[in-house]
């Protein structure tokens, strides 16, 4: 079982509000790995919309993502791609 930790940057203007949070959760649900995000001392499950919203991560925030499980690599790649694309927002 692999565990990977990497940093991602919030690039979209509005930050992690409900829509991006839902998009991330939706994406993460297909992986069986556990995905956690740590920001400003809070650690939340990336498969929980409400958890992600408590981070109130604005543009420019650096979040630490930890994926644990057999498909950790794929999950990490998916997380990075979503953040880099700004969740399809400006």
């Amino acid at each position: 079982m692999a565990e990977i930790t990497e940093d991602v940057l919030v690039v979209n203007k509005l930050g992690i509000h409900a829509r991006p949070a839902a998009a991330l959760v939706q994406k993460m649900l297909v992986f069986q790995s556990d995905v956690f995000i740590t920001f400003e001392g809070n650690r939340v499950n990336a498969k929980s919309i409400m958890g992600l919203l408590t981070l109130a991560a604005i543009r420019g925030s650096h979040l630490t993502v930890t994926c644990t499980g057999d498909d950790a690599e794929e999950a990490m790649a998916a997380v990075k791609e979503l953040f880099a694309s700004g969740f399809g927002e400006d």
Binding site: L14, G15, I16, H17, A18, R19, A21, A22, V25, Q26, L29, V30, I49, L53, A56, A57, I58, R59
Partner: protein, 322 residues
């Protein structure tokens, strides 16, 4: 749900006799004459006041509509010399007329009645005022001519919101409805739901007159909800506010997670808010539908909880970035 290919029934005409169904419009018609013509077809929901036709102008005479005779028309006929009246009515009646409807308990001239009797044009009379007669007839006919269809599903009045529950056979529509009824809500129809359009923007569900409020519950058999739960737990008609599609939980399917984006489904040309709800053991669908109904009511009152919540998050983030 495939709403594009629903079989749509729409009457192209109704017999004049249908107008006697006073339950629907409460005009309490009395028939003054022309009984033989009760089978005449009414083809449109519009009405006509034949004032101009009575005065001899028959171009553009809307003869195919129900002809309303109020104070003006009756008194005008009263004042015409008999020969002239006969000539005018002959002119009018050379066109196909479905029926004459009199308001305010007006008494027509016997000459008029004789001619209607001879030609078999029904003459109906109501005690109500002319405007009341006109609006009731138009509404009644519009309803008669409005398109309808039948869907396989269940209709329940949940907290005052008409919910149409659809989904594949065996997904649990009836069981969900039963639980909703048990929780105090009202059953409109199970299995066979007649859907009718009212005006052009409202859709309502109706109880099938044969099935009534019977339900088939697998393992139990046929249950009469009205006798088991009481008359307070059923109703015959309810405007549909929400379409809920139940489906087996599929991993690849993306269910709405935030409620920020509203989906609609179009039935008989009326867009209705639509929710897709995944079913899986441990999920109490009845309670989910209760919450969906209440949430729908909130939205109707102009409160969008999902949007408000997201705005709060956005505000918190904005303050943080200052």
């Amino acid at each position: 749900m495939d709403t594009k290919n629903l079989p749509i029934n729409r009457k192209s005409s109704i017999a004049v006799a249908r107008l006697m169904d006073w339950m629907s419009h409460d005009l309490q018609f009395k028939v003054l004459g022309g009984y033989q013509g009760f089978g005449r077809p009414v083809m449109t929901s519009d009405i006509n006041r034949p004032g101009l036709a009575l005065s001899g102008y028959l171009e553009y005479f809307a003869n195919d509509r129900v002809q309303i005779l109020g104070n003006t028309e009756i008194h005008f006929m009263e004042r015409l010399p008999a020969a002239r009246l006969m000539e005018r009515l002959d002119g009018m009646m050379s066109f196909e007329i479905p029926a004459f409807v009199l308001s305010r308990n007006l008494d027509p001239r016997s000459l008029f009645l004789d001619m209607c009797n001879r030609r078999g044009i029904p003459v109906l009379r109501s005690a109500r005022s002319t405007d009341e007669v006109i609006s009731r007839i138009i509404l009644f006919l519009a309803e008669e001519f409005s398109p309808e269809t039948v869907v396989h599903g269940t209709a329940v009045d949940c907290y005052g919101v008409g919910c149409l529950i659809v989904g594949d056979a065996g997904v649990g529509k009836s069981e969900t409805a039963l639980e909703l009824v048990e929780r105090g809500h009202r059953l409109v129809a199970d299995d066979v739901v007649a859907l009718k359009r009212h005006r052009d923007d409202t859709l309502y569900a109706e109880t099938n007159p044969i099935v009534e409020h019977h339900m088939e519950i697998r393992g139990v058999g046929i249950v009469d909800v009205k006798s088991v739960f009481g008359v307070g737990r059923v109703r015959n008609r309810k405007t549909i506010g929400l379409v809920v599609e139940l489906e087996e939980w599929r991993q690849d399917n993306t269910y709405d997670r935030t409620g920020l984006k509203e989906e609609f489904v179009e039935i008989l040309g009326v867009p209705i808010p639509y929710l897709r709800i995944p079913v899986r053991p441990g999920r109490n669908i009845a309670i989910i539908i209760e919450v969906a109904s209440l949430n729908h009511r909130l939205k109707e009152l102009g409160v969008n909880p999902a949007e408000q919540f997201n705005n709060r998050i956005l505000n918190i983030m904005e303050e943080k970035s200052l």
